[in-house]
C-alpha cells in the first residue's frame, strides 16, 4: 500500500499546533493533543442562499447553480401556481409563467435554464402534460405516454431520464427533446426517489412507495440500457425529494434534513441541510453546486450544497454610505474602502465638478474639479486620481481637459489629444488609459490614449468605435465591454488591450451601455448596471475572466450612467440614474475557505 509520503510527496510533519495555512488533504501529527490531523476533506457543505420570493411546495426546477429556474408548485393546500423564477447563483427574478398551474411534476434536475422541462404532475388529476422552458417562456412539449406524478427525473432536455411515479412504476422513460422513449426497468418501483445524472448514466437512490409505505433499499445505476444495483443496502433510507450530480458525485437530500453523498463507490450521510424539506426544486449538481429551493410547508429557503471540502460564502451587494451630492454621468476611481467620485450631472443640464472621497462607510466633500464636467473618464487612486475629457456646461461642449488629484485638490495636466466625452478609463495616474467615447458633434470614437503622468500619447485604436463602455484594468491589461453606437444601439462586444493592441474578447451576457466597471486586469473584471432599462440590466452584474462573462448577484437598485471603482471581488457602485440617485452599493465576491482540520481516528 502506498504511504502518505508517496501519495502527497510529503512526510507527515510533527507539529505542536495545527498549521494556519494547511492545504486541503494535508496530514500532520499534533504533538500537543496527541492526534493525527487532516485539513478539510469532506463531501461538501450546505450554505444558505437567497430565499425564494415566496415559498412553494412541489415546484419543479432545473439548470445550474448559476443559471437555474423553479416553476409551478403549490403556495398552500389546493393553491396551485404556474409562476417561474430564475436563479442566478445568488438571487431570484420573475420569468414567464407555465401554461398550466400544477404540482408534483418530476423531482430532480429537469433540464437547463434555457431548455427546461415541466413533466407530468397533478393539476388536479395526474397528467401527461409536458412543457418546455426557453429561459423566458413555456411552450407545450410532447406529452408523456403515461400520466405520472412524483416521478424522479434528471438530465438535460435532450438526454432526460425519468423513473417512478405515484403508482410505483419501475419502467424508465427518456426524452430526447422531441419524443419519449422506453428505457430499462429498475428492480423496484417507487415515488419520491432521487434521480441524478442523465439518460445514458443515471442513478436511482432512495424514495418510497406511494402512498408512503416502504422505502427503497437499494441504489441502482443506469448505463443507457440496464439498471445495476450498486448499493445493496442504502444507509439512511427514506424519501429523497430531490437530487443532483453525476454517477461519480451526487447528493440525495430530503426526508427531513438528511443529506447523503455518493462518491461513485459508496454513499454515506454528509452534512445536513439547515431546513427539513421534501418535494423541493433541484438545481445544478456536480461539478459546481447543487441547489435545493423551496419544499414542503411552503418553504422559501434556498440552500446550496458545494461539492468538496471548502466552505463558501456567496457574493452579494450591500448598501454603502450615500453620496452627499446625488448625480449621474460621474467618474470614479480608487478602491471600495478608499474611493473617489468626481464630476457628474445633478439634474437635466446641471453639471457639477463636485469631488467626494469614500472611506468604506461615508462620503466626504473635497475640492471640486477645476473644470466642471460630466460624462468624463477617470482612473487612479483616491490620493492620485486622474480626470479626463467629458462635457462642460453649457452642454454639449466636449473637452480635452485633463486634471490630476493628489488627495486634496485638482491641478491641471496636459490635455487629451482627441476631444471627446462618454469615455472609459483604466490604470493609474502615472500609467493611465483612455479609450472610446464620442467626438463632436456625435461621432463614435475608437481613439486610445496612454498617460505617463505628464502627457497623453495616442495609441492603437480600438476595433469598434463606441461610447459608454464598461470596463477597466491597468494600462497594459484593460478591457472595454458593451457600449453604444449611434444608429446601431446597445453592444455586447468586448475588446481587450495588452498595452499595444486591442483584440476581441468574450461577449457580455446582457447587451448594455452606460455600465460601470471594476477590474484589476483584462482577465479579472466586473461590469454592473447600465441601459436599456426595460431589459432589466440596470441591476445586473457580470464577472469577466478574460475569456467569458458569468453572472454575479444583482445590485438592489437598478441604474445606469453610474460611477464605479474597486476590483472584481471588492467593487463600489455609486450614483447613476434614472432617477438620479445618491445610493452606493458595495460588492463582495464569493469567498471560500478550507474546512477546519479534523482528527483522524480508527474504526
Amino acid at each position: 500500500m502506498a504511504g502518505y509520503n508517496q501519495i502527497k510527496g510529503l512526510r507527515v510533519k510533527y507539529l505542536s499546533a495545527d498549521p494556519s495555512n494547511a492545504e486541503d488533504g494535508q496530514v500532520w501529527y499534533n504533538s500537543t493533543s496527541g492526534n493525527l490531523r487532516v485539513a478539510g476533506i469532506g463531501a461538501g457543505t450546505w450554505v444558505s442562499s437567497t430565499n425564494l420570493p415566496t415559498g412553494r411546495d412541489y415546484g419543479t426546477a432545473g439548470g445550474t447553480s448559476t443559471a437555474g429556474f423553479i416553476a409551478g408548485g403549490e403556495l398552500g393546500p389546493g393553491t396551485f401556481i404556474s409562476t417561474t423564477f430564475d436563479y442566478d447563483g445568488s438571487g431570484w427574478s420573475a420569468s414567464g409563467a407555465m401554461g398550466d398551474a400544477r404540482i408534483r411534476m418530476n423531482l430532480g434536475v429537469s433540464g437547463t435554464q434555457t431548455a427546461g422541462l415541466g413533466v407530468g404532475g397533478y393539476s388536479p388529476g395526474t397528467v401527461t402534460s409536458v412543457e418546455e422552458y426557453d429561459g423566458s417562456s413555456w411552450t407545450g412539449g410532447t406529452a408523456l405516454p403515461v400520466a405520472t406524478q412524483q416521478s424522479g427525473g434528471a438530465g438535460p432536455g435532450t438526454s432526460y431520464m425519468m423513473l417512478g411515479t405515484n403508482s410505483d412504476r419501475s419502467e424508465g422513460l427518456s426524452y430526447n427533446g422531441s419524443a419519449w422513449g422506453a428505457e430499462g426497468s429498475s428492480s423496484q418501483g417507487f415515488a419520491y426517489q432521487g434521480l441524478a445524472g442523465q439518460e445514458t448514466a443515471a442513478l436511482a437512490f432512495y424514495g418510497a412507495t406511494s402512498p408512503a409505505g416502504s422505502n427503497r433499499s437499494t441504489g441502482e445505476e443506469y448505463n443507457g440500457t440496464a439498471w445495476t444495483t450498486v448499493v445493496p443496502s442504502l444507509p439512511d433510507q427514506g424519501n429523497s425529494g430531490g437530487a443532483g450530480g453525476t454517477t461519480s458525485a451526487a447528493v440525495f437530500a430530503g426526508s427531513g434534513t438528511t443529506s447523503r453523498y455518493w462518491d461513485g463507490t459508496t454513499v454515506a450521510a454528509t452534512t445536513s441541510m439547515a431546513n427539513p424539506r421534501a418535494n423541493y426544486g433541484s438545481i445544478g449538481g456536480h461539478p459546481g453546486a447543487f441547489v435545493a429551493a423551496g419544499g414542503n410547508s411552503n418553504l422559501a429557503a434556498t440552500e446550496e450544497f458545494n461539492f468538496g471540502s471548502n466552505t463558501f460564502t456567496a457574493a452579494a451587494w450591500a448598501s454603502g454610505g450615500n453620496l452627499n451630492t446625488a448625480r449621474n454621468n460621474l467618474a470614479g476611481c480608487g478602491t471600495q474602502t478608499a474611493g473617489l467620485a468626481f464630476g457628474g450631472e445633478t439634474g437635466p443640464g446641471t453639471i457639477v465638478g463636485d469631488t467626494e472621497e469614500y472611506n468604506g462607510s461615508t462620503w466626504s466633500e473635497q475640492n471640486n474639479l477645476n473644470t466642471t464636467r460630466d460624462k468624463l473618464g477617470g482612473c487612479g487612486t483616491q490620493t492620485a486620481g486622474l480626470a479626463f475629457g467629458g462635457d462642460t456646461p453649457p452642454a454639449p461642449n466636449k473637452t480635452t481637459d485633463s486634471e490630476e488629484y493628489d488627495g486634496s485638490s485638482w491641478t491641471e495636466g496636459n490635455n487629451l489629444n482627441t476631444i471627446r466625452d462618454q469615455i472609459t478609463g483604466a490604470g493609474i495616474q502615472t500609467a493611465g488609459l483612455a479609450f472610446g467615447g464620442q467626438t463632436p458633434p456625435n461621432a463614435m470614437s475608437n481613439a486610445t490614449e496612454e498617460y505617463n503622468g505628464t502627457s497623453w500619447t495616442s495609441a492603437n485604436n480600438m476595433g469598434t468605435a463606441r461610447r459608454l463602455m464598461g470596463g477597466g484594468g491597468i494600462q497594459t491589461s484593460a478591457f472595454g465591454s458593451g457600449g453604444y453606437i449611434d444608429g446601431t444601439g446597445d453592444q455586447n462586444i468586448t475588446e481587450e488591450y495588452d498595452g499595444t493592441n486591442w483584440t476581441s474578447g468574450g461577449n457580455l451576457i446582457n447587451t448594455r451601455h452606460a455600465a460601470a466597471g471594476a477590474a484589476t486586469s483584462n482577465t479579472a473584471g466586473l461590469v454592473f448596471g447600465g441601459f436599456p432599462t426595460p431589459s432589466g440590466v440596470g441591476s445586473k452584474a457580470e464577472g469577466y475572466d478574460g475569456t467569458s462573462f458569468s453572472t454575479r448577484p444583482s445590485m438592489a437598485t437598478a441604474r445606469a450612467r453610474l460611477g464605479g471603482c474597486g476590483t472584481e471581488t471588492l467593487a463600489l457602485a455609486f450614483g447613476g440614474n434614472p432617477p438620479i440617485t445618491a445610493a452606493t452599493e458595495e460588492f463582495t465576491g464569493q469567498t471560500s475557505a478550507v474546512a477546519p482540520a479534523n482528527t483522524i481516528t480508527t474504526s
Binding site: N51, T54, W92, A318, S319, G320, Y484, P579, A583
Partner: protein, 96 residues
C-alpha cells in the same frame, strides 16, 4: 398569497441592507424610495426594522410612475440636440 411585499423607506446608506440580507431574501430598490422584498419572514422583518410604510402593489407602482412621468416630461423639454446626446426617453418601470 402575494409573492412580494411593497413599501417605502429611506435608504440611510451603510447598513441599510447588508450582504447577509441579500443572501437571505429577495430585495430590490426603486425610485420614490419604493422597496420590494420577498413575502417571507426575513423580508417582512427587514421592512419592519427599517420602519417601512407598507404599500399595495398599485400604490407603490403609482409612486414610481409619478417619478418616471416627471423624468419623461423633463426629457421631452430637451432640445433635439440634447435628446440626440442622451440615451433616450426614460422608460416606464413595472414592479414585479
Amino acid at each position: 398569497m402575494a409573492h412580494f411585499i411593497y413599501g417605502t423607506a429611506t435608504n440611510t446608506g451603510k447598513g441599510f441592507f447588508t450582504a447577509e440580507d441579500r443572501r437571505k431574501f429577495f430585495l430590490r430598490g426603486y425610485p420614490a424610495d419604493v422597496w420590494v422584498v420577498g413575502n417571507n419572514v426575513d423580508g417582512a422583518m427587514w421592512m419592519a426594522e427599517k420602519g417601512a410604510r407598507e404599500k399595495t402593489k398599485s400604490e407603490a407602482q403609482a409612486l414610481i410612475d409619478a417619478v418616471i412621468t416627471a423624468a419623461q416630461t423633463a426629457w421631452d423639454a430637451k432640445t433635439d440636440e440634447e435628446k440626440a446626446a442622451s440615451e433616450g426617453r426614460p422608460t416606464d418601470i413595472i414592479l414585479p
